[in-house]
Every structure is written in C-alpha cells, then in structure tokens.
Subunit: 347 residues, 2 copies
C-alpha cells in the first residue's frame, strides 16, 4: 500500500541576479515554498530527496555570471542554487535508487529536491565515514585532486611540488598524495592558521602565507632554491607569474582553477609565459568531469588511507542552509579553513 | 707535404652592447681582423671554416640581452655574433671532418671562423639542394617545425590547425606538414604578400593579415567557426589571448616562440588562461635542442618531399655579411618574406 504523501515547507537559497565582481549576501535570498515529499505521478527515473550536506566550491563563482557555451551551465536567477551535495532518498521511481539510500552528486540548495537527472549521482556504499566527506575527500574534490595530480602532473618520487590554495578541499589532498609518493611539498595559503595546518596536520614540508610576502618570486626561491617540478595551480594571476620563472626544466603545471581571478572584472595578465618555451614546461588544464571513471579506483586507494590515518582531512562545517550564501562568499575571501561544507540536516 | 698557411682579412659583425627594446643598426658594427686559414698548432678536434650562409632567427633577440641561466648563452658584446650557418671546411684537426666538406650548425657572423666546439655541427650529405636550405628547411628551423608539430601537437587527420607568423621559416613548414596529414590549416602573417604566399604557394586553406584585423577574436571565429584543435604559437601576446577562447575541447598549443614579445620592455599580459581549464587545453613549450636526435628521421621524410615538390620552401636571401644586421632587425619588423638567410659567400 502506497504511503500517504506529506506536504512540507521547503527552504531554498535563490540567486537573485547574475553577479559581477565579488558576490555579496544581498545577491542571494531565502525563499520558502511548499513541496510534496513524493515524486509526482508520471515522472520515471526520478527521486525526491532530503538534502543533508551541500558543498561550497570555487567553480560555483563562474556559474553566478552569465556565460555562453561554458563547461558548466550558469545558475538561473530566481531559481535555487544547484551544486554538489549528499542526499537521502525519500521517494523514488528509479529502479536502482531506493528509499533511505544515500547518494552524492548534483542537487539543489534547498531542504528537499526533486531530482530528475539522476545520472550524475553516485551511490554512497561506505558509511563508516562521516557522510559530509562525500562533498569533499570522497566526492568531487577528491577525484579532482586524484586525477589532477596523478593523471595531469606525471609525478615522480623526489620531485619538488608546489600547491597554491593548499589548505582547500583539493589542495590538502594533492599535498598529501605528493607526500605519500615521496615528493618535497610546499603549499601557500592566506592565514597563519592555514599555514600551520599545512605543516602540522597535512605534513607538508613547508608552507607560507602569500599575503605576508612582498615578493612571491623571492618566497618561491626560498623554498625551492633548485626550482619546482610540479605546480598544482588553484589561484592564477600573480602567483602563476611568480611560479613560471621558478619552474625546473620539463616542469608540469596542472591547472585546476584560478580562484584569485574569478571575481575580477578583468583578469590579471600573465607575463612570464615565455618560460614555457625556455624551460619546456607543459601546462595543462583539466576538469573533474572527464575523470569520474576513476572514482572506484580512487575510493579503493583513499578509504584505507583514511581508516589508517595516512590521509588527514579538514572540513569547515557551517550549520544551517540560511548560512550557505555567507559560506560560499567566504571561499573567495579565504574565510574557510579546509573544505567548506554546509549542513542542511544531519539526517 | 703541409700546405702553406694563408693570412687573410676577416670581416666580422660585432654586437656593440646589450640591447633593450627594438635592436637598431647602430647596436652592431663591422670589424675587420686578420686570420690565418689554418687551425693553430696544438688545438685538436677543431676546424677552420669559410662561412657561406648565416641564418637570422627570432631566438637571437633573446641572446642580445643579458640573461642568466637561460637556455642559450647571451651574445658577448665586443665579439662576433654567433648563430646557425652553413660552413665549408678549409682546415681540420678533427678526424671526422675533412677539408672541403660542408657542415651546418653553430658558427660566427664573420667570413672565416675557427670552430673548436664541433659537436653541434651536422655534416651535409645531400648537396643536390641549395646549401642555404641547411639554414632553414633542412636545418634547425626544419627540425623545429617537425618536432614542434609531430611531437608536441599530437596532430590527427582532419583537425583544425592555426599557425601564427605562418610564412616564417618554421611556420611555412608546419602548415605544409599539417596539410600533408589532412588537416584544415589557417595562417596569420603581417602583409598581403605573405598572406598570398600562404594560400598560393604553401597551400594553406586560408590566411589573414593580422595587422588588418581590428578584432583578432572575430577573425579567428571567421576562419574557425567550430574552433581550433591545434595552435602553433610563434608570436605570443594579443594573438595568444585571442586564440585561447577559440580553442576546441582538448586542444593543444605548441609554444615555439613569442616573437611579438621579445622587444618589449614589459611583455603583454595574457588574460584568457582560464580557458586552459574550461577547455582542457594542453599548452607546451619546446626547444629544438631536445629533438636533434630526430634529424635523420626528419631528413628521410623531407628530402623526397622537396624533390617531388610536395613541400615548398621560400627563402628571403640577402647578399653580403654587411647587410646581416639589417636582415636580423627586419625579422622583428616582419620585413622578411620567408626564411631570412644572409649569403656571405656562394662558395
């Protein structure tokens, strides 16, 4: 016998309009609408979910602007924000997705979502770890770090690795992967707290606060007197310009993101690209969406590492959907320490 | 019986001082010194050569500035300029280099040179072609084009290829290699004469004069409505910035040089590097000196093509060593049409 459908109120975070420059809280609004906790009649292969954790990720800034032909769809002003999250199935018309199962993938910034495009969702099989990990180390940022380091950087034991935005969701993992491989690893971040975290918690060999360096080139020379083999690029702009002259012959730059540039009306120009020639550097951009097939292999590697404490993970957890806009904005001012997660409901 | 040593006068082109900005003729001077046409006593493995053809190449601009730890040594103010050329051996103490043999490789901008570092010289075995070809299509620029296209671009039949400075020594060959492979090929150059050459002589599908385009982005969209798979980069700066948004997914940028930037006090900033991420572009610099081992394979491929007229080659030949400085300077104003060669002596 079918359960009675329940009508509840659904709190949502709406993007009011496209944003230029730094996003501010008034670019968002909270709306409450009713929702029936059941997949409507006649919609096959859909699920109605409760959103538990949502993820604040730098790539979301690009989606707040109107972009044509981009690699991700722009957000829709007037509609709830979409992004990665961890969900619990309340009702399903999908043969492979059952009530009370957990999934991670694309969902809405709201308490409940009807998901009709379920192909991007991954079923959560391992629940001995906090479910929030599936917005980070065991989710999109985890595969990003794994693919971006192992597939794009061609790393070898003993190489010198530099990571910018190193305490973020991706950076902290890349640094630990590089250490596990036997590399010398240095990270940059924007506060003393993050720098301490890099050295004390994540086991980086060295770390520095880029905001306290008048001369990034000199800072890099201090930590890499013989140069950098691998630069894992998360920030772009001035940092990239400082890194290029400090690269070693046949160095590799894996371009994951350029967060320092996303809120600028005009991006900073990069002047030192001729070093690509003189040092025979390979610089390669990548997107995680090309690498999801590696997820099972990645899980097999990372789960034992987490269990044995060989890989550490730091989350910055904010409670409450209503605090999600400030959490997202905080990514771009560096407020978060570790992976930024928002809890909508603990279950 | 040993031949009598002959003393002659040796005209030389001297770099007077390091150059900043555009080089001008007064940065050079002509000097005449005596030379004995014999390897001096006690110097083993050396040759005394007559310089026949010398090569003007863009990379030489970087050598006119004082640079530390660069991939090439700076020129030495007060000394003759050095560069690639075709030489005839007049005297030798090297067991494998005989009188009257021809070589190409590093020599001086002077009538006669004593070469003690002979390891960079290649013996010229095929003399059915003009010897000047060994400063270009059969010399350093030839291997540059071959390695830069086949090794760095990972080209496939049917791909869309764009080449800047396309009528130059390297560009004209890359375009023809791409056509031989079955690619769609477009080149840019700086005069109508060069544009006509690209289309009529080298068989490019299309070509345009970048100086006549107000909007490089629009020009690229006109010729590549579906985007560029491969960009063979010779110029840098604004052109690179216009190309990046027009690249296709998983496109490749082979960075051979950035001639538009070499004379600037501060290089132009490149703003569109985030497209490396969104389009998963690989951008890779290279230097020919890593690829000389391919020379025999390259010769085997190119010589029949030249003989059968499948590959065309255009040189801009200037007569007389005294005209070499103007020829070199002309590279940076785009005066040359095709490979810039200077004849010191026809034999």
């Amino acid at each position: 016998m079918a359960e009675e459908a329940v009508d509840v109120s659904n709190k949502q975070i709406i993007l009011k309009h496209y944003v230029s420059g730094f996003p501010i809280e008034s670019d968002f609004e909270i709306r409450t609408t009713p929702i029936r906790l059941k997949v409507p009649e006649g919609i096959p292969n859909a699920i109605l979910v409760k959103n538990l954790y949502i993820s604040c990720d730098p790539y979301m800034r690009n989606r707040m602007s109107e972009m044509e032909g981009s690699y991700v769809d722009s957000l829709v002003p007037g509609s709830p924000i979409t992004g990665f999250g961890v969900v619990k199935v309340l009702d399903s018309t999908h043969p492979d997705m059952k009530k009370d199962e957990f999934f991670w993938g694309f969902t809405g910034w709201e308490e409940y979502s009807l998901i009709t495009s379920t192909q991007s969702l991954f079923k959560i099989q391992h629940t001995q770890v906090p479910l929030s990990y599936y917005t980070g180390i065991l989710g999109m940022p985890g595969i990003t770090a794994y693919a971006g380091f192992y597939e794009i950087c061609s790393p070898k034991k003993g190489e010198k690795v530099f990571i910018s935005a190193a305490s973020g969701a991706v950076g902290q993992l890349v640094g630990q992967f590089a250490k596990l491989l036997g590399c010398y690893v240095v990270g940059s971040a924007g506060t003393k707290e993050k720098v301490d975290l890099l050295k004390d918690k994540f086991g980086f060999d060295e770390a520095f606060n880029y905001k306290e360096e008048d001369n990034l080139n000199a800072a890099l020379k201090r930590y890499f007197p013989d140069g950098i083999d691998i630069y894992f690029e998360n920030v772009g702009g001035k940092m990239l310009d400082a890194v290029l002259p400090n690269m070693r012959l046949r160095g590799r730059v894996s371009v994951c993101g350029m967060i320092s540039q996303y809120n600028l009306e005009k991006t900073e120009g990069v002047h030192n690209l001729f070093f690509l020639v003189s040092k025979r550097i390979r610089m390669e951009g990548f997107l995680v969406l090309d690498h999801y097939h590696l997820y099972p292999k990645f899980l097999e590697m990372i789960l034992p590492h987490i269990k044995e404490g060989k890989v550490e993970y730091v989350e910055d957890i904010v409670e409450g959907l209503e605090n999600a806009p400030a959490a997202l904005i905080g990514l771009f001012t560096g407020r978060n320490v570790g992976k930024q997660v928002v809890v909508i409901s603990h279950e």
